[in-house]
Every structure is written in structure tokens, then in C-alpha cells.
């Protein structure tokens, strides 16, 4: 494995790992705050038990997210010193604010986790809310930094020099809103479905049904609502990509030739050499419509992009298809849930319904990883779109593959450990969190 590929793989692995933990660490506090609120209002002990049980999970995920995030703030420099040397001062604004938000989140989490019986109920609840709010703020800020790489602004690049730097303008680059929105909704829908799925499994096994039903309802409310909203935010993101990263959009769609009535390709195997897609379903005009809101206007294809500036088409296309496919599926499940809820049917006693959610547990996170693959692979060969190539940014130190192997081992071990811990948490629900209703 050459050093450049190893560095890219290590970065992808670290981000892919961190994203899962940070999403859960950011969304779960919101769920926790809801059930905590219900407990304070109704004094129903089940809600308190849910809050406590969830908070243990949050502590595990938060710690893992925090250390992998610390790791990433160094990896930016360890792997991409050429990038950080120039980009640090430009897109550093959201990072320094994120540092502040993260700090506040850690303080509030300490207060929340150790505050039972020590703090006034509402002070305690507010600490939980602050964890959620600062978590979401951190998420928005970090994604704003990433969106700057996709849509660089706040500086002029003249003769290889970065001048007239304006960090505020860089933070509010043209992609920050659509990208952050897409990410935050994705976090809510992925975490909502994952949490709901686990509780559905326990209901299906008829263990602590009341406890798990209440927990399920809180989680799925957010998961389903987010899944229904996500396609709209996705549309916004795609239009943004069409405008500022035509190469990425063309790779996502495996769209080789610029034409009128541009078709949308569903599925298929892209053949980059022959510049066509085999076995895909083409819907004429739909891509034009999605990008330009009219069926005729041509959309720029890969033929407008010099080959040396094109991203890998196949990976981007497959990842995009996986993300969209799962997204649509999750939206449908969400719609069914709300429809049946409106009809007031007793769904949680039906096994097909529970099975659907059990099966959907990992879906959101698979879509989320696929989405990040689209964003990052779709931007290649650039690390800063149209300004700096990823290969110019990589560290001169040889032997990066060994560090990549080491990290693969560590992240694999940590993933196994977290799954093991989560299993034990769920196993212990009857003893630790829900003795009365068991």
C-alpha cells in the first residue's frame, strides 16, 4: 500500500468511526432530555429509568466520540500537514467555536451524569438540554469546516498564495447551510432508527415491554420525522453540488455526457473507460428537473471535466445509490409509522411491524457512511475544491501504512468493545433499570 493511499484510508477510517459515535453522542442527549422532562412532569418512574439507562449509553458513546475526535484534530496535521499549514487559519473559525461548544458539552455532561440527587431537578434537566444543544452546535460547526473544503471561500488564491483571508466568510461559505442541515437530519434519523430498532427487538422478545415501548416511541418520533424531512434537504444539497461541484454531481449520477433532458440513472454499473452505465434504469429528463427545475436544460457531465480532475466515478455512484435507496426506504417506514399512529392502531403488538424496525436498525448508519463517502470521494482529487490537490497535502513521512494497520486494529477492537458493552447494558435492563415493571 503506498503512503498516499494509506493516509487517505486512515483518514476515512477515523472519520467513519468518529461519525457514528459523535452522531449518537449528539442525538441521544435530546432523547434523554425528552424522557427526563416526562419524568419530572408525570413522576412516572419508567421515564426516569429510561433516562438513566440511556445516559449510561451516552457516557460510553460520548467518551469514545471525544477521544476519536481528539485523534482527528491531530490527524489533520499528522496526515495532511500541507493542507493544515494553509487551511488552518482560513477554516479554523468553526473549529475554535467547536472547541468551545465541545468544552461546554463536556462540562454539562459531567453535571448531568453525576447530578442525580445532587442538583435541583430543573437545573439537572437544563444541564441535559445544554449537552444536546452544544452537541448539535458542534456538529453544525464541524460540518461547516468540511463544507469549506467543498465550497472554499473567504480568501483569494493568487500565484499559489492565500491572501485577503476572512475566517468569518470562510465559515459561512455557500455550502455550510445545506451540508450542516443534511448532516444534522441524518444524525437524528440514523440514531432514531438505531435506538428504536434495539427497543423494538426487546419488545419483540417480550422483555420489559412497557419500558421499551416508551423508549421506542421517543426515539422513533425523531427518527421518523427526520427520515421524512431528509429527501428535501438532500435535494438542496444536490442542487448545491451541481452549482459548485459539477464533477461530484456527475460522478454521483455516473453521468458522462452533457445533454438536454438529462436522465437520472438508477443503479447500474458504471464503465468509466466506455463512458457509460450498464444495467442502469434511465429516467429521461429527471436529472435536468432535479438540478434546474425544468426537464430540458442540460446538466454538465463528466465530459466537461478534465480527466485529471475527475473523482472516482464508480465508488461515488455506488455510495450515492446506497444512500438514496436507504433514505427512500427509511422515509417510507417513517410515513407508515405516522399513518398508523394517526389511525391509532396498536402497532407494537404486531410482529411484522416490530420486525421492520429491528431490520432497519443499522440502515441509517449505513446511509450516513455512504453519504460521507459521496462527499469525500466525490471531491477528489481535491482536498480544497479547485485549489489544492489531496496529493499535495499529504505528509512527507514514509511508512504510513503501518499506522493505518494499527488504527484499523484499534478501531475494530473499540467497535467490538462498544457492541459488547451495549449488549451488557441491554441485558441488565431488568436488573438495573426496570425492576418494577419487569
Amino acid at each position: 500500500m503506498d503512503d498516499f493511499l494509506a493516509a487517505r484510508s486512515q483518514m476515512a477510517l477515523s472519520l467513519g468511526f468518529h461519525i457514528i459515535y459523535s452522531c449518537i453522542g449528539m442525538v441521544m442527549p435530546v432523547f434523554m432530555a425528552i424522557s427526563h422532562f416526562k419524568w419530572i412532569k408525570t413522576q412516572d418512574p419508567v421515564y426516569k429509568n429510561i433516562t438513566v439507562a440511556w445516559s449510561k449509553g451516552v457516557a460510553i458513546f460520548f467518551a469514545t466520540g471525544a477521544v476519536s475526535g481528539t485523534m482527528l484534530s491531530f490527524e489533520l496535521g499528522l496526515l495532511w500537514p500541507g493542507f493544515m499549514k494553509h487551511a488552518g487559519p482560513i477554516f479554523g473559525m468553526p473549529f475554535s467555536l467547536e472547541g468551545v461548544a465541545f468544552f461546554i458539552e463536556a462540562i454539562a455532561l459531567g453535571l448531568f451524569l453525576y447530578g442525580w440527587n445532587r442538583l435541583n431537578n430543573w437545573v439537572h434537566w437544563t444541564a441535559g438540554i445544554i449537552v444536546g444543544v452544544s452537541g448539535v452546535a458542534s456538529g453544525i460547526l464541524v460540518v461547516a469546516a468540511n463544507s469549506w473544503m467543498n465550497s472554499p471561500s473567504g480568501f483569494d488564491f493568487v500565484n499559489g498564495q492565500y491572501i485577503n483571508i476572512d475566517p468569518v466568510k470562510a465559515m459561512f461559505n455557500k455550502a455550510w447551510f445545506s451540508e450542516s442541515l443534511h448532516m444534522i437530519i441524518a444524525a437524528f434519523s440514523a440514531t432514531g432508527f438505531a435506538v428504536a430498532g434495539i427497543h423494538a427487538l426487546m419488545i419483540y422478545r417480550k422483555q420489559n415491554v412497557l419500558f421499551h415501548t416508551k423508549a421506542f416511541k421517543i426515539a422513533i418520533l425523531f427518527g421518523a420525522a427526520a427520515a421524512i424531512l431528509q429527501p428535501f434537504s438532500g435535494d438542496l444539497s444536490a442542487k448545491n453540488a451541481a452549482k459548485r461541484q459539477p464533477a461530484k454531481l456527475a460522478a454521483m449520477e455516473a453521468y458522462f455526457h452533457t445533454q438536454e433532458y438529462a436522465p437520472l440513472v438508477i443503479g447500474g454499473i458504471p464503465d468509466t473507460a466506455a463512458k457509460k452505465v450498464n444495467y442502469g434504469i434511465e429516467i429521461p429528463g429527471l436529472l435536468s428537473f432535479l438540478v434546474h427545475d425544468n426537464f430540458k436544460t442540460p446538466v454538465n457531465g463528466l465530459d466537461k471535466i478534465p480527466v485529471k480532475n475527475q473523482p472516482p466515478v464508480a465508488v461515488t455512484h455506488y455510495a450515492f445509490q446506497i444512500m438514496v435507496g436507504i433514505g427512500v426506504l427509511m422515509m417510507l417506514i417513517g410515513i407508515i409509522y405516522f399513518y398508523e399512529l394517526w389511525k391509532k392502531k396498536d402497532l407494537l403488538s404486531k410482529s411484522w411491524f416490530l420486525k421492520t424496525f429491528i431490520w432497519a436498525t443499522p440502515l441509517g448508519f449505513i446511509a450516513l457512511e455512504a453519504g460521507w463517502t459521496v462527499t469525500e470521494v466525490g471531491r477528489q482529487p481535491w482536498i480544497i475544491q479547485d485549489v489544492m490537490r489531496t496529493s499535495e497535502a499529504v505528509t512527507p513521512m514514509p511508512g504510513i501504512q503501518y499506522s493505518f494497520y494499527l488504527f484499523s486494529f484499534i478501531y475494530f477492537t473499540l467497535s467490538v468493545a462498544v457492541i459488547f458493552l451495549l449488549k451488557r447494558q441491554i441485558q441488565m435492563v431488568p436488573e438495573l433499570y426496570d425492576r418494577k415493571t419487569a
Binding site: A59, I60, A63, A66, T70, K85, P89, F102, L421
Partner: protein, 337 residues
């Protein structure tokens, strides 16, 4: 002007990380050197002390890194290149330690075997992480970083693997253990426990003095003019003298077991003085290269817009962070009374 505020935040974050995060590492180091029959008790007291605040203590590292890469990107990227290996090992320590600590506390099933496994990882990573933090700090001053090196060993290994850097590493470990022991003395009411921790604090302090001597010895071998830097500069000299006096006062208070809150302040003061004396003696140089050239905080900084925004961000941020942090410490001190 804003540049100086940013530099002040940088040094403040490093110092606070050393004092708070360092005491956290020290808790693990003490557990590592505690006999098996006392381990359980030690763990309980320390867990009560650091449980609620450890996440927050480690945020100072994040602040340090962010200030470096936003405000001093060239220094950050050069350090990342030539100190890649120790940074990597330090980070692996951070990961192992943070996860082992929270897994140990939040594992729903508390069986002996897995708990012992988490503890094993926790105590060893508590030792390795500050060791390498010290090595990184030592390397920045050792003058062994050589951008002109042509082979792997000279560019990426001897930059940090030298007597001076390694002895600074061990010195850091000893100081962390010392801070933790002193901190815990103030946490418990049990007279026997207090005695035990005072003894531990003394052992760690002796270890620190020995490691400190090693640092000076190594600086002589490696031609780092540490003695000249410190004794040739009035501020550094005063700081070193103040540290020495505070050590004597500390011993007097400990021996009479009087006010236990004061010994914390004195221990923190001592560590601050050590950092000030070294930091000031080389200021504004942050990293020194083999050929004698160096990277200065006053010249290798980002453009003035970025520095201004960073400074404002830090000032406004601290308006939120400091009261919240104060409340966190207050809320968990209050309960004992």
C-alpha cells in the same frame, strides 16, 4: 495586541492541561504503583474525585491544538511532520485511557475479569500518555528536530528519541503523579488515607526531583543549554527559586498536616513556576531546530484577520466556559460538606 492574547491563551491552556489533565493521568499512575490490596480503595477515592470532571479536564488539550493550528499553522504542521511518531503514541494513549476509564465505570456488568482488563489498560495508558506528552514538549526544545535530515531515523526518530526528550517525559510523569497524590489528600477525610497519600506525594516528589536532575544531566550530554536558559534569565530564575521555596513550604505544611487546601495551591504553584521558567526562558521561540534556527510565536503566526477572530472567539468562549467550569467544580465540592 490580539496576538499576545492568543499566546496567553495558548500558554494558559497548556498550563491548565498540565494541572488538571495531568492530575488525571497521575491518578492512573498512582493506581499503577499501588499494591494490590489497596487498589480497590484507591480506585474508589480517585473515581469520586475525577469521575465528573475528567472529560472537561481533557478539553484543554483540544483548545491547545486548535489555537496552534488556527493561530500558528506552520508550527503545528512542522511539529506534526517531525514528531509524528510520539504524537501518534500519545494519541493512542489518549484513546486507550479515555475509553478504558469510561468502559470501566459504565459497564453494566461489573465482573472481576473485565474490570481488571479495563484497569490494566487504564493504568498503563495513564503512564504512557504523559510520558509522550513530555517527550513532545522536550523535543520542541531539544534542538534535535532536523528538517534537513535525509534518512528516516534522523528525521523522524532521533528528533524525539534522545536523552533530553525522554528524561523530560519521565519528569512529566513524576509531576503528574505528584499532582494527583496532593489532589487526593484534599479529597478524603480518613486520617489513614491522608497519611497514605502524603507518603505517595512525597515519593512522587522525590521521583520528580530525580527526573529533574536527569533532565539537567541529559541537557548537558545533548548540548541543550538548559542551565544557561534558566539561570541566565531573571524571570526564569525567580520562577525556579519560587518553585523551590514553595516545595519547602509544602513539606512543612505536609509534616504538620495543617491546611490541606493550601498544599493543593502550592503544588499547582510549583508546577506553574516550572512551566513559566522554561517557557519564559525560550519565549518567543516555540520549536528549536538542529541548526539552531527556531520557530517563533511572534513571527510564525497566521494572518492578522485569523488571529483577531481567534482571539475574539477565545475571549467570548471563555465567558461561557469559565463560569460553567466553575459551577461544575463547585457542584461536586459542595456535596461533601
Amino acid at each position: 495586541m490580539m496576538l499576545y492574547i492568543v499566546i496567553l491563551f495558548l500558554f494558559a491552556a497548556i498550563t491548565l492541561y498540565f494541572l488538571l489533565g495531568g492530575a488525571d493521568f497521575g491518578a492512573g499512575i498512582i493506581e499503577l504503583f499501588t499494591s494490590t490490596d489497596n487498589k480497590h480503595r484507591t480506585r474508589k477515592i480517585m473515581y469520586q474525585a475525577i469521575g465528573p470532571i475528567w472529560e472537561a479536564n481533557h478539553m484543554w488539550l483540544i483548545i491547545t491544538v486548535v489555537v496552534l493550528f488556527v493561530g500558528f499553522p506552520v508550527i503545528y504542521s512542522e511539529m506534526c511532520i517531525y514528531l509524528h511518531i510520539p504524537l501518534l503514541i500519545m494519541l493512542l494513549g489518549v484513546i486507550a485511557r479515555g475509553t478504558a476509564f469510561s468502559f470501566r465505570n459504565y459497564d453494566a456488568v461489573k465482573d472481576e475479569k473485565t474490570q481488571a482488563f479495563y484497569t490494566h489498560i487504564f493504568v498503563y495508558s495513564s503512564f504512557v500518555t504523559p510520558l509522550f506528552l513530555g517527550i513532545i514538549a522536550g523535543s520542541a526544545l531539544s534542538g534535535q528536530i532536523d528538517p534537513k535530515a535525509t534518512d528516516f531515523a534522523h528525521a523522524y526518530i532521533f528528533s524525539w528519541f534522545n536523552w533530553f526528550s525522554v528524561s523530560v517525559g519521565f519528569f512529566t510523569v513524576a509531576l503528574c503523579g505528584f499532582l494527583a497524590a496532593i489532589y487526593i489528600v484534599g479529597e478524603t477525610e480518613d486520617v489513614d488515607e491522608i497519611k497514605r497519600y502524603i507518603r505517595k506525594a512525597k515519593i512522587m516528589n522525590i521521583a520528580a526531583v530525580i527526573c529533574g536532575a536527569l533532565v539537567f544531566l541529559a541537557s548537558h550530554f545533548e548540548r541543550v543549554h538548559l542551565a544557561n536558559w534558566i539561570f541566565g534569565n531573571p524571570v526564569s530564575l525567580v520562577a525556579v527559586i519560587a518553585a523551590t521555596i514553595s516545595l519547602v513550604v509544602l513539606y512543612l505544611i505536609i509534616s504538620h498536616r495543617k491546611n490541606r487546601q493550601w498544599i493543593r495551591v502550592l503544588a499547582a504553584f510549583q508546577v506553574c513556576m516550572i512551566l513559566i521558567s522554561v517557557g519564559f526562558s525560550r519565549f518567543p521561540r516555540f520549536v528549536i531546530f538542529k541548526d539552531g534556527s527556531s520557530m517563533s510565536l511572534l513571527t510564525e503566526h497566521a494572518n492578522s484577520n485569523s488571529i483577531d477572530d481567534l482571539g475574539i472567539g477565545l475571549l467570548v468562549g471563555s465567558l461561557f466556559i469559565l463560569p460553567a467550569l466553575g459551577y461544575l467544580y463547585y457542584a461536586f465540592k459542595k456535596k461533601d460538606r
